[in-house]
Symmetry: C2
Subunit: 418 residues, 2 copies
Amino acid sequence: MVENCEYGDRIEVHTMKEIYEGIYLPSPETGIILLKLDNGYNIGFIKKNISKLELVKKKDESKPLFEVVRDGGKPTIGLVVLGGTISSRLNPGKGGVDFVETPEDLFQFYPELFNKVNVKVEVPFMKGSEDMDYKDWQKVAKVVKKMLDSNEIRGVIVTQGTDTLHYTSAALSFFLQDLNKPVVLTYSQRSIDRASSDASLNLECAANVSLSDVCEVVVVGHANSDDEFCYAIRGTKVRKMHASRRDAFKPINSESILKVNKDYIEIISEYKKRGKEKPKIDTSFEEKVAILKFYPGQSPDILDYYLEKGYKGIIIETLGLGQIATSGARLSWIRKLKEMQDKGIVICATAQTIYGRLNPLVYVTGRELLKSGIIYLEDMLTEVAFVKLGWVLSHPEWNVKEKMLENISGEFNKRIVE
Amino acid sequence: MVENCEYGDRIEVHTMKEIYEGIYLPSPETGIILLKLDNGYNIGFIKKNISKLELVKKKDESKPLFEVVRDGGKPTIGLVVLGGTISSRLNPGKGGVDFVETPEDLFQFYPELFNKVNVKVEVPFMKGSEDMDYKDWQKVAKVVKKMLDSNEIRGVIVTQGTDTLHYTSAALSFFLQDLNKPVVLTYSQRSIDRASSDASLNLECAANVSLSDVCEVVVVGHANSDDEFCYAIRGTKVRKMHASRRDAFKPINSESILKVNKDYIEIISEYKKRGKEKPKIDTSFEEKVAILKFYPGQSPDILDYYLEKGYKGIIIETLGLGQIATSGARLSWIRKLKEMQDKGIVICATAQTIYGRLNPLVYVTGRELLKSGIIYLEDMLTEVAFVKLGWVLSHPEWNVKEKMLENISGEFNKRIVE
């Protein structure tokens, strides 16, 4: 706490070089003075670098620190809040983070979202994204569907933790068909009360996209580690590719759809536009699906586990163009995979390299695996394949192979070469 | 076959724009005339674009098509050939590829390697890299060790298939300590008889590095999809990141060590230099180690399989900063992981995002997992962690946690930020 100043006061911070004015915020890091500038950016100052602090205006005790002002002239969007870092603040006492639980609390940390839009908030649950699974994706899809059906709402933003955000974006891409509005997932990698949180830019850019004519499920987030602009990436062509960087989400085997600035949008590649579609929802999911990453020397006995446990489908993350071990008595993967398929388990192959497209025809191994019935999923991401397989297998009336190879929500990109 | 010309003849190919001269090679692709230019580059011409073909010189029937000329003035390097695409040629009859089995055959396809060096070839086995496991890594290490101990040999090149090359490079990084010469792994993504194979540049650059003062295990390969220069990447900080591109191998959480051109080398980052070390070999390996990729909703019952099968260690590819599911009765991962560790199984965590560094201290889940005894492997790659754990666990005299967290062969990069 700084002498004579309280959190919420408007203050000036003088450094050797410049003077900054903004709202004084509680900083979870000791030795740091945290300021919310009028442009919405949180900036932290190391105390020893501050030459002077001046009070500009005491906070008005009769009003909340930040206020949600509804403005009839602005468009309304839906905001689905699910937890994660974008809804977390540090708890220095505990040494970790806590969830920010009310819309008002959220607003306190990113009022700039409300500059352009009115926001209808729904909070179906609050959890870390590592704890989310298909039942949560089903809940989210239902909440989003209600918003798609509302005449008032122009577009939908979904915020959650980053760890499984790309799974949720894939799930919404399949569960919700014939979209009539943008469905925009966003996140932050730094909790919102930290200096230079990425939440503010991501949310503002997500709001821009939610008002756009992109009628797809997309992920919007930092394009690089500068706090300048975002990309909007197709929900089936995106993966978390860094544990901590702000630009953790990258388009895979695909270009981004949009470059998104705070005030305007640039189109990078083709997308589905707003039309007169009536959105449909289909959230059924077969939970007995698994991901299995192949590694050198791995015994195929692992497949027995899935058989015994009644699994219906497995995504194998294969090597290179779609290879697994074939030689040696102990490594009789092909025999075992045939046996599994004879017993009705669907086996699909994806690429452990993440980037690129499988091609089972180049090597003998691949051709033998293909002959055994394995479905080669070309350039589809493992995570997307997992979600799609669970969804497809829950429809006994569908031809599994045909559906898995049908480009339903942009999960294949036929155009990438090499 | 072209009229009046035989494979091995020196011919001229006239196109609308230019005339090319070189050795006429059998092309596996129909409609293509394949030429090996004097600069070592294979170039393919579509027949309909050829205006004229002219015989320059018949091949000398008394000599082999290409000849291995030993030149006393050149330095000698060791070449360990293990199979893979770099040793494969297309078999149009079978519709796949066959291995090129003798050094002379190899030489036919990349004589440019022999421009600068004499080559001692060893072929301990020939297989697709998808079939290699720790027993093969042990064999390779022993062959390389012999070459390290030879006074004649300046440096060692190892060629193998790309699919598990980064596992082999990790294994050699741990199995061979106190190197006295460079150990350079290289590869090709296109079989060597195809127009624009990447083998030639990779081998020439690998030869340059094998003569350099880099006393580490490195992977040398195309820096981008142009056929211009290569990077040399530390063997513990490299991963195959594309199914088919020539620049499939990328440095992860690290810079490359060298930029390698055909004729010279540029230093990018620090490395261990040639000294007076006496190389040591230690190839022991505990085969009961596994990689387990966590996915949303995954049941912890999978751990029972590893317990029953007598596994000694598991690398869990975790979400984000090192997270797995913690909530729900069905998802009692923490309890199960504690139980596994109580029974003596070592559990390590790596990052599913591939890029970035784990940090278990940010979230409650991570702190609980850390407390349960899990070893968080910071910025170490999953594949490297797997190899290292197998190696460390085979030494009962070592403290496993200490050894796993010791930076033995550059597998940790303490310097990366974010």
